[in-house]
Symmetry: C2
Subunit: 329 residues, 2 copies
Amino acid sequence: MTTTMRDVAKAAGVSVATVSHVVNDKPGARIGDDARRRVQEAIVALGYRPNALAKTLSEGSSRFIGLVADAIATTPFAGQIIHGAQDEAWRHGFVLLVANTEGNAAAENDAIAMMLEHQVRGILYSTWYHREIEVPPPLQHTETVLVNCFAGDDSFAAVVPDEEQGGRTATEQLLAAGHRRIAFVNTTSPSPARSGRLAGYRSALEAAGIAGDDALVFEAAPQQEGGYDAAAAVIASGATAVFCHNDRVAMGLYDGLRERGLRIPDDVAVIGFDNQDVIAAHLRPPLSTVALPHYELGAAGVRTLLGLESPATGARQLIACPSVPRESV
Amino acid sequence: MTTTMRDVAKAAGVSVATVSHVVNDKPGARIGDDARRRVQEAIVALGYRPNALAKTLSEGSSRFIGLVADAIATTPFAGQIIHGAQDEAWRHGFVLLVANTEGNAAAENDAIAMMLEHQVRGILYSTWYHREIEVPPPLQHTETVLVNCFAGDDSFAAVVPDEEQGGRTATEQLLAAGHRRIAFVNTTSPSPARSGRLAGYRSALEAAGIAGDDALVFEAAPQQEGGYDAAAAVIASGATAVFCHNDRVAMGLYDGLRERGLRIPDDVAVIGFDNQDVIAAHLRPPLSTVALPHYELGAAGVRTLLGLESPATGARQLIACPSVPRESV
DNA sequence: TTGAAAGCGCTAACAT
DNA sequence: ATGTTAGCGCTTTCAA
């Protein structure tokens, strides 16, 4: 049924070795023009397709890269991690094996086992939000790169977003627009995002010669509801601009501000974080924000897995969070 | 380096055939308790892992299923298609090969070629929104199932959402809440969603003995902006409830309604479509909507590809869009 | 310039 | 009950 190399060889009147050589365009292989042509013709005539599996078996090394995700296909924007990883893998002739585990340890082990059985070159282990993780035991003895997460002792190569730079960038946008009294509505849940963005906020203020004022730092649940509820306090603080921990908080804040008759950005400037498209691009006014570099995280993960990127040893590789200006600042 | 079956056989003092039998728990294979035990011990002692690729090669049939998506990893909720497909594939011992093509024909052909070279059992071809497509030529001679899309002549097995039932369901929610004058803000872009939901809306009204009134059917760009802009006309129509083509339109409508001092659902009830979580669950009030069954589309696609589901021949398989009641009705 | 043949790790008759 | 062996489709020395 499927036509193999042997079929091509027979049709072209040559040996399989010759076919193999022309198919792979082997450098050190002298093939007569005539033979080469006959092989090529036979290939198209028979519709021959190399069997990648047999090739792998024979060569000993596969072209697979595994991506195990805790909920990446479930959550809105983090699917970009898959996308970035897949593009980059592709670019280097690799194929992505994807497994979604929903954070279920059993599923996770199964997924990893399955990938190992498929001889993956290595595994990308990724989470849908940036956090510290316990690396699953089966990964200990496998070429692994953590994406959007990291081991507590940094014993694994990891690629994560630069939260602090992101927080700084956000704050700088507000500063650049002339604001001096800038509030920060942070999340209540401890996380690299929470501390990193706060650090960035502070460092930007400091760099601008503005004394940090803890009365301007608020905490709220990281959804629309949190932002909405924070509105009153933010207004009371006298802030003229507010940096929200994420776009959803910003969206809630919009509601709260609007309800009190405040206009954005005229009365209060707002900047978000995450660049969650469905929201940010379509709020009124469109929300200025800072993007989480999901695509880049996936791509960089693949690169370091393939050894194309040499991260400072043992250190997390930080990926910049770019500013996405729209109309709320 | 990697330990093979032969290593295990040697360690256990048996032949590879025996090892193969115990590893695969072959039904018709009588293996002595003693030998079986020795093999199992050797397996853990050596940390043996079967090579799935060699197995495939030998068996002749692979356990791969390909999923080529036009933008599925890019777009928020449709990542659920991947998720559903992967879960279902997994459930049957299959592995998903994912490729995102961004609608680029060249990338698409490459992706398909690569999958074929990896001996996939078949290919799921999916789009991020429900529509008619031109099936890529290389798929013509391949076991293919279309997911969230369909061929113009229905010459391919396809699994799509039941837009009409969805539209009916949405309208019924409004009807059940006692509304009689129900507006429909449809999208301007021609699509199965546009015509299907409209048909569902009409059929629900008719079933309730309400005469359809074209003055109650509006058209708007399918984003927040469209909903916002439609608010005035909707209000002027005297409708007490409105079914929005999607959640984003509903979100915009919320703004428009609120700006005019109307309260939801007291003054006007609103229902959306898509169940786009970031939005629907967190609007104020939370938006009642109808869900697009992405996960199920992916899962059903895999099932029909594996021949576990027998679709009425040549027909599209319709997946129901369930109602997701929240507080806007 | 080309071919023969020995694997790659595993399965599946077929023997024993 | 267990072992032998011939492939699966391809790569790769090594000869010719």
